[in-house]
């Protein structure tokens, strides 16, 4: 059955690695709904967090094919309950709406916060799950929503301690260096 999964991929820092990973989803016609990547606490090791609508069976095969890539350390498929995740949204609102007063309460009630205020607009930041962030748009619309922007998913896996210990071990190993070959 198709549902939303989180795929995490630990990679070396190499040009083109994003393409190498995404074409494996493309080949099987799986649409990536969000992709977030950043360096981990281990220098030179990056973590990709990918959300997709697919089946577990298909994703297990995709992950196997991702792991076949030379620069990939490991890749995992996670069920919803296996990860703690958040997304971040920014909302640009007309400054005039502050005059009405009750938007302040709305921001506070939804654990959002104001990042910056200019003469024309102010920017609200909110973290949460996707639906929460989208629902918040509807509540802000009456106040003059100018622009909305949302990140992909950032996730922490509940059970991944052992793999992270492996990653820490990697930190002690010098990354293969293409430049000097020493």
């Amino acid at each position: 059955m198709q549902k939303e999964y989180t795929v995490t991929v630990y990679t070396e820092d190499r040009i083109g690695i994003t393409n190498r990973i995404t074409i494996i989803f493309t080949r099987r016609g799986i649409n990536i709904t969000s992709l977030t990547t950043a360096e981990t606490e281990i220098p030179g090791v990056f973590k990709f967090i990918i959300t997709v609508m697919s089946t577990r069976e298909q994703l297990d095969k995709v992950v196997g094919q991702i792991e076949r890539l030379i620069e990939i350390h490991r890749a995992f498929v996670h069920e919803e309950e296996e990860v703690v995740y958040q997304e971040l949204a920014l909302y640009k609102i007309s400054t005039r709406s502050l005059d009405t007063g009750d938007i302040e309460r709305l921001i506070r009630d939804h654990q959002a916060r104001i990042l910056t205020i200019t003469a024309d607009y102010f920017v609200i930041e909110k973290t949460g799950h996707q639906q929460e962030l989208i629902d918040f748009i509807k509540k802000l619309e009456p106040y003059g929503l100018i622009e909305y922007s949302k990140s992909g998913r950032v996730a922490i896996v509940k059970w991944s301690r052992r793999f992270h210990e492996h990653l820490k071990d990697l930190a002690a190993v010098e990354a293969d260096n293409l430049i000097s070959n020493d």
Binding site: E12, G16, E71, S180
Partner: protein, 582 residues
């Protein structure tokens, strides 16, 4: 182990006094890195963006033999043939742009068939990258899905590391093609050269650790099996595990069938060998896959041409899958016991745990099926008394006259299936064909490469008339480099396999499959290669003798039955048990 500049430098340019870390150009570093990796033969085609490398090659002609092909696709197939026959890494050179894109078919073919190959492409100068410069293409982007690994090098000092990694990746684990794209400035630039072979990449584990518990589980299944059945794939040859496979089969008396690429791992004459699997494989192994109770798949990936309809495949069997590539395990067929390992390591361990057994009745079932196939199909194919020449009888005679010891290089189509079915392979790595990709035009250049890789062996290319015309320009390479390959064209003036499908599944609507062919013998003569055309049964034996006796390249055109069909056949998408004998 560090290899510090130990290469003898014979030429004037190379006679410069060298320090431990000589200052040389990136181009020279490419050649010296190849030599350090044991490369003695390169197939390639020069052009603007790779000219510095070719210039450097000029100084090392006494150490590296460059074969000038007539098309870059030919270079890749030749490198594949070289690798598959010799067990070494094949190497191909091409320039940027069209030179690089012409490698694509060969790279994809090598990727599908796990052939170790390193392709070096020239690229425009780094400053021009991304500007649509003359003959610039994004070869890295293009070849990403069809290479095991690729890399673009933009600075000369990156070259030794990239080359070392390229060879390590190409030949280790599940082998495959690697592409190194080198910008022109990197080829010209000078740097302090030092070469160290690569044997470790922290994100890459080519040799899996054998799980002995899984081996024990597999042995238990085999020891309790009434009808065990071994499927031998290309991984057996790649691991050099032929003896271990035979020993396992003999110890527990298990019949062995081969995939197309696994052919020649087990001698056809072996008493436990029961034939080829798949769409045009033998009747017994296909139909009895549905009867076995334990299926031991070794170094194979359950290609759809082997399994047919997977929902009906080996339904009575527990599946043991020995495979070095974890991504192949459970991809098509779910394994009851998965052994993620090199075939040789796994079989050595399994051999110790398996009990001697006899499966006399089970083996007899295969022999009954053999007889059925022989009576219904093979006898008439191999020993026709009248009518036009049949492909099978030509293969039979070549097999007899080469004693099953030639390296057989086949192209793609009916002739490929007939050769695979009827050539009686005796020694490992003597079957070279395009399996996963099914690339027409493969055989002529691949045979060239195979002969370069194993010059002591007779290399016979079996090619259809359609396939031959896809890469026949390589006759020029064969002549120029004096490569003594024997070329047999089985000419039915049709794209035979497509025509067979049109006959069976498209109401004989022969849409664009009939070929009006040139005079192949005259074409060969134009390339100064002798040849003969045979049209009758009486002449075939002497013609093969003449071909094999000739020193050097020879082309034999055999006109065969125009509308011959290859049976048995599993219709596409049908269960393998639905194999048709007619």
């Amino acid at each position: 182990m560090q290899q510090k500049d130990v290469l003898p430098m014979k030429t004037e340019k190379a006679d410069k006094p060298l320090t431990v870390k000589p200052v040389i150009t990136g181009s020279e570093a490419v050649i010296r890195s190849l030599i350090a990796e044991g490369v003695d033969t390169i197939f390639g085609y020069p052009g603007g963006a790779i000219m510095p490398i070719y210039d450097a090659l000029y100084d090392f002609q006494d150490q590296v033999h460059h074969i000038l092909v007539r098309h870059e696709q030919g270079a890749t197939h030749a490198a594949q043939g070289y690798a598959r026959s010799s067990g070494k890494v094949g190497v191909a050179f091409a320039t940027s742009g069209p030179g690089a894109t012409n490698l694509v078919t060969g790279l994809a073919d090598a990727y599908m068939d796990s052939t170790p190959m390193v392709c070096i492409t020239g690229q425009v100068a780094a400053a021009l990258l991304g500007t649509d410069a003359f003959q610039e293409t994004d070869v890295i982007g293009i070849t990403m899905p069809i290479t095991k690994w690729n890399i673009q090098v933009t600075r000369p000092e990156e070259i030794p590391g990239a080359m070392a990694k390229a060879f390590y990746i190409a030949r280790s684990g599940r082998p495959g093609p690697v592409l190194v794209d080198i910008t022109k400035n990197a080829q010209f630039g000078e740097f302090e050269y030092e070469y160290k072979k690569c044997d470790y990449i922290r994100s890459y584990s080519p040799v899996p650790v054998l799980n002995e518990d899984a081996v024990l589980d597999a042995a238990t299944l085999i020891n309790n099996a009434k009808k065990p059945f071994i499927l031998c794939g290309h991984g057996v040859l790649l691991a050099g595990a032929e003896k271990e496979l035979a020993a396992l089969a003999e110890k527990a008396q298990i019949p062995v069938a081969s995939t197309l690429l696994g052919l020649s791992a087990v001698p056809v004459e072996h008493p436990l060998y029961v034939g080829m699997l798949g769409m045009h494989g033998n009747y017994g192994p296909n139909v009895l896959t549905g009867e076995c109770d334990v299926l031991i798949a070794v170094g194979m990936r359950f290609d759809d041409r082997v399994t047919g309809d997977v929902s009906c495949y080996a339904t009575k069997a527990k599946v043991i899958h020995i495979e070095i590539d974890a991504a192949e395990i459970n991809k098509i067929i779910k394994a009851d016991v998965a052994i993620h390992a090199d075939a040789k390591t796994a079989l050595q361990s399994l051999l110790q745990k398996v009990q001697p057994a006899a499966h006399t009745e089970w083996i007899a079932e295969f022999r009954d099926a053999d007889k059925k196939e022989y009576d219904k199909v093979q006898h008439a194919e191999l020993f026709p008394q009248e009518g036009e020449l049949k492909m099978a009888e030509v293969i039979r005679r070549i097999s007899e006259k080469t004693n099953g010891e030639a390296v057989l290089v086949t192209d793609v189509g009916q002739h490929q299936m007939v050769a695979s079915r009827y050539y009686r392979f005796k020694n490992p790595n003597t079957n070279i064909t395009s399996g996963g990709m099914g690339t027409m035009g493969f055989a002529l250049p691949a045979a060239m490469g195979a002969k370069m890789g194993t010059p002591e062996k007779e290399v016979v290319a079996i090619i259809g008339d359609g396939c031959f015309q896809m890469t026949l320009q390589e006759l020029g390479t064969i002549y120029q480099s004096q490569i003594g390959v024997k070329i047999v064209i089985l000419n039915n003036n049709f794209l035979g396999m497509v025509r067979q499908w049109q006959q069976l599944f498209f109401d004989k609507r022969y849409s664009s499959t009939e070929m009006v062919n040139p005079d192949f013998v005259q074409i060969a003569k134009g390339f100064f290669i002798p040849g003969k055309k045979v049209t009758t049964r009486d002449d075939i034996s002497a013609a093969i003798d003449e071909m094999l006796a000739h020193q050097g390249a020879y082309l034999l055109e055999v006109v065969v039955e125009k509308e011959d069909n290859v049976f048995p056949m599993v219709p596409a998408g049908a269960p393998v048990s639905a194999i048709r004998l007619e």
